[in-house]
């Protein structure tokens, strides 16, 4: 079963690299923020998959920390981009 999860993890990381192209190309800061949002969603998925592959509840805790806290970073970026900081 671990092979399936490793395959899923590899594909998710491939998608992260794909989203990073938009992070490089994006003409405005808002495009880059969108790419960052995609990267963090995929990263949370990857951490959950990693926790299941090694059967560790602790890794899923890291995923919860990320899912809750990346919101705060995105809000700061949005507040700067919107120009009302």
């Amino acid at each position: 079963m671990i092979d399936i999860w490793a395959l899923v993890l590899g594909l998710l990381l491939l998608f992260v690299v794909g989203a990073m192209i938009r992070l490089w190309l994006g003409p405005t800061s808002a495009d880059r923020a969108v790419a960052l949002d995609a990267v963090n969603t995929i990263t949370v998925c990857a951490i959950i998959v990693f926790g299941v592959a090694f059967n560790e509840t602790v890794f899923v805790d890291v995923a919860i920390v990320y899912a809750l806290l990346s919101f705060v970073g995105t809000l700061w970026l949005a507040r700067y981009i919107g120009g009302d900081l």
Partner: protein
């Protein structure tokens, strides 16, 4: 084999985002790229079986570092920046 591919993909993403931090002319884009770097670094720590450091990186890198960077960029930009007009 698949673990090697995962390592290569992760390190590729890390190198791309780290180069992006250096390459970007726009400061807020560099901050966004640093956010992506922080996400991938935490995942790399998880792959290397160090969940303690991963939680520390998640807690600091996701929310607080982005906040400090954004506040610093906004605070040093006295003209109001090109984002607000």
């Amino acid at each position: 084999m698949i673990e090697l591919a995962i390592h290569i993909l992760l390190v590729t993403g890390l190198v791309i985002s780290a180069c992006m931090v250096w390459y970007m002319d726009d400061l807020i884009s560099a901050a966004i790229a640093f956010g992506a770097f922080s996400f991938l670094l935490s995942l790399e720590f998880l792959v290397l079986q160090a969940p303690d450091v991963a939680i520390a990186e998640a807690g600091i890198g996701a929310g607080l570092t982005t906040a400090i960077f954004v506040i610093a960029i906004r605070g040093t930009d006295k003209k109001g920046g090109d984002a607000s007009d």
